[in-house]
């Protein structure tokens, strides 16, 4: 019999948790109350679905142990884990804070099946290109979905106050209902302050790095000072920038310029030293001029360093612009919204801004990383060898 089965520890543990949940009985306090006094109302959560939830988990766990093909196994696990999770989340609505141990047993069991599902999917080695691409999207999507499911289920099950941590469904609803406001804030903070500051700051750092390379007195004098300035708490200059450049996005762009300038300067200076002696000797034998050597050898060799700075700066710029808005801004902008909505106890709006900022930051970083792949394709870290 055991030869026909292929047990995984996740599925085995899920089965055990289902048994424990059955033994312990009531999923929620109202259910326990209903059993204690049958005369009271019977409107308790999971009235009809408790057996369905536990049954789904149990069947999926058992099914996954059969010697199925990986895709079929993943499908069985997917249906079991997510069906159970969906029923659990749907049932707790209106009964927040009443969950008892069997609720968490069922949640953990469903999560274990989801874990097993992701594990099976990530061990698959499909031949087709589009299948690999789909897998590369599905695995992190499931992973992220489970973070949200656990967050939602624990916040609702334990009845955590809204002020402390709203459930993701409330944050999602807030995002959908506030799209125009969020759009205005993104336009103000990202498309004005962040992009302008990032472009100017990175370009200035790059140009100064080349000047420092060309003129020895700049390299000797400016780079140590630059290191000192980069150690300053940049956020501290935000109020000063507001005084200098006014309340609108220009003062935020100035903070972003200061934040992004030095990473670019330091990385480009390091990158310009990255070419080997032999390569520079080679250019010397061609009587190559300073600028020819710079453009044909040293800048291409510095590419990986420069892109490193661009990636670091993409996240720094977002942080700088949002925090700078805490110090005075017109009534629009992501940082402004976060600081005012937190005062009004609209925590879901704060989380909505955070989610949008995270999304924008990821897209920003991803675009820079894609450019890097295209530009420094030759580097061992990208061509893989």
């Amino acid at each position: 019999m055991t030869a026909r089965l292929k047990p995984s520890w996740q599925a085995a543990l899920a089965l055990l948790l289902v048994v424990i949940a059955l033994v312990l009985g009531a999923m929620t306090q109202p259910e326990a109350d209903a059993f204690a006094s049958p005369a009271a109302g019977v409107a308790y959560p999971y009235l009809g679905t408790k057996s369905v939830i536990l049954g789904l988990i149990g069947l999926a766990a058992l099914g996954s142990m059969l010697r199925l093909r990986p895709l079929a196994e993943a499908l069985v696990l997917f249906v079991g884990a997510h069906g159970a999770a969906w029923l659990l989340l749907a049932g707790i609505g209106g009964f927040e804070g009443t969950a008892k141990a069997p609720y968490y047993c069922a949640l953990t069991a469903a999560w274990l099946l989801g874990w097993r599902c992701v594990a099976v999917l990530s061990s698959m080695r499909p031949a087709e290109r589009w299948e690999r691409l789909a897998l590369n999207l599905v695995v992190p999507a499931l992973f992220g979905a489970w973070l949200l499911i656990l967050w939602e289920a624990v916040v609702r099950g334990a009845g955590i106050p809204f002020i402390l941590l709203p459930p993701p469904s409330a944050i999602g609803a807030r995002i959908v209902n506030s799209l125009p406001i969020l759009g205005e804030d993104v336009r103000q903070t990202i498309f004005k302050a962040v992009l302008v500051g990032y472009v100017v700051g990175c370009a200035a750092g790059f140009v100064v790095a080349i000047l420092a390379d060309r003129f020895l007195f700049l390299r000797r004098g400016l780079i140590p000072i630059g290191n000192l300035v980069s150690a300053l708490p940049i956020i501290g200059v935000a109020p000063i920038m507001v005084m200098w450049f006014g309340f609108d996005w220009q003062s935020k762009a100035a903070v972003v310029i200061i934040m992004t300038f030095f990473p670019m300067l330091v990385n480009t200076v390091a990158g310009l030293a990255a070419s080997s002696h032999m390569e520079r000797d080679l250019m010397r034998t061609y009587a190559s001029s300073y600028w020819q050597t710079l453009f044909k050898l040293r800048l291409p060799a510095a590419g990986p360093f420069i892109f490193n700075a661009l990636k670091i700066n993409s996240t720094l710029a977002l942080i700088g612009a949002i925090v700078a808005e805490f110090f005075g801004t017109p009534v629009v902008g992501m940082g402004f919204r976060i600081s005012t909505e937190v005062g009004r106890m609209n925590i879901d709006m704060v989380w909505a801004e955070i989610a949008v900022a995270a999304l924008a930051g990821s897209v920003f970083y991803g675009v820079v990383a894609l450019l890097e792949r295209a530009a420094t394709f030759w580097h061992p870290s990208i061509r893989g060898g």
């Binding site: 080997s276 032999m278 080679l282 034998t285 291409p300 420094t376 030759w378």
Partner: protein, 273 residues
């Protein structure tokens, strides 16, 4: 100690001198004190000669080549290339240099790597293309124009770097152990090709090597060097004809010259043992 050799046949006095070094010395200042890399080197290389520099590591053969190329400055004595100072000669692009490693730029295809010196010199595109095709053909790399260096074997990379040095047709070719990393068969083939190229053009070649057979097979003159301080201990004129099939290496004449080179190397070594 052997007299520093400046042996030049009387007939070559009239020929144009490509390289002329007088009492050349180079001392590196290191943390362990000064190191004499070259001392009292007197050497004249005439147009069209093929001169090999052979000796144990640390004998200064690569340093001498780098002084000729103006990649190192001598600390004493003088050197002139085509009647100019080494720096002027470098700026006039008087020589092509082949390094021990290929030093191809990984972001350029083979074809664009060969084009590098031509771009620096500002040649028109059409002429670049023609020279790339010719030199890649010469080193048997036809069909690999669009590959990147890291897609090729080490031997192919070094052949591409030789093509790059040949591309701009300098009269002087400086080669620093260019075939050291190649397998025997490719090495034989490239030695033959190099002799063929040297025979058809009037190029002057300075060639640093570890290998006695390679030095004897290729050279019209073999400069034997010895370390601490780096100096020339013997200069051997080859009596072999200019036409040299590979099997010349089995003739008694060839073996006699090889034996003389080996004796010269041994004499240099006896100082330290």
């Amino acid at each position: 100690m052997n007299q520093p050799a400046s042996t030049k046949p009387a007939t070559a006095e009239t020929a144009r001198q490509v390289v002329s070094a007088k009492n050349l010395g180079l001392t590196f200042q290191t943390n362990d004190g000064p190191v004499q890399a070259l001392s009292n080197v007197d050497l004249t290389i005439g147009k069209g000669e093929f001169v090999s520099f052979i000796g144990p590591s640390g004998c200064g053969k690569t340093t001498l080549l780098r002084v000729i190329a103006d990649l190192e400055k001598p600390t004493s004595g003088s050197i002139s290339i085509n009647g100019m100072s080494a720096e002027q000669a470098r700026e006039a692009r008087a020589y092509g240099y082949v390094f021990q490693a290929a030093a191809l730029f990984p972001w350029r295809t083979i074809e664009r790597n060969v084009a590098l010196p031509l771009e620096v010199m500002g040649l028109p595109r059409a002429e670049q293309a023609q020279r790339i095709a010719r030199t890649l053909d010469l080193v048997n790399l036809k069909g690999f124009e669009k590959k990147y260096p890291w897609q090729l074997s080490g031997g192919m990379q070094q052949r591409a770097s030789i093509a790059r040095a040949l591309a701009f047709d300098a009269d002087l070719l400086l080669m620093d152990e260019p075939f050291g990393a190649l397998d025997e068969i490719v090495r034989d083939h490239l030695n033959e090709q190099l002799l063929d190229l040297w025979g058809r053009t009037s190029k002057t070649i300075c060639f640093v090597t570890h290998s006695i057979p390679e030095a004897v097979y290729l050279s019209t003159r073999i400069v034997v060097m010895s370390p601490r301080p780096g100096r020339v201990t013997d200069v051997i004129e080859s009596t072999l004809p200019r036409e040299r099939p590979l099997d010349i290496r089995e003739t008694p004449e060839f073996l006699a010259i090889a034996a003389r080179v080996r004796d010269g190397l041994r004499a240099g070594h006896s100082y330290e043992d």
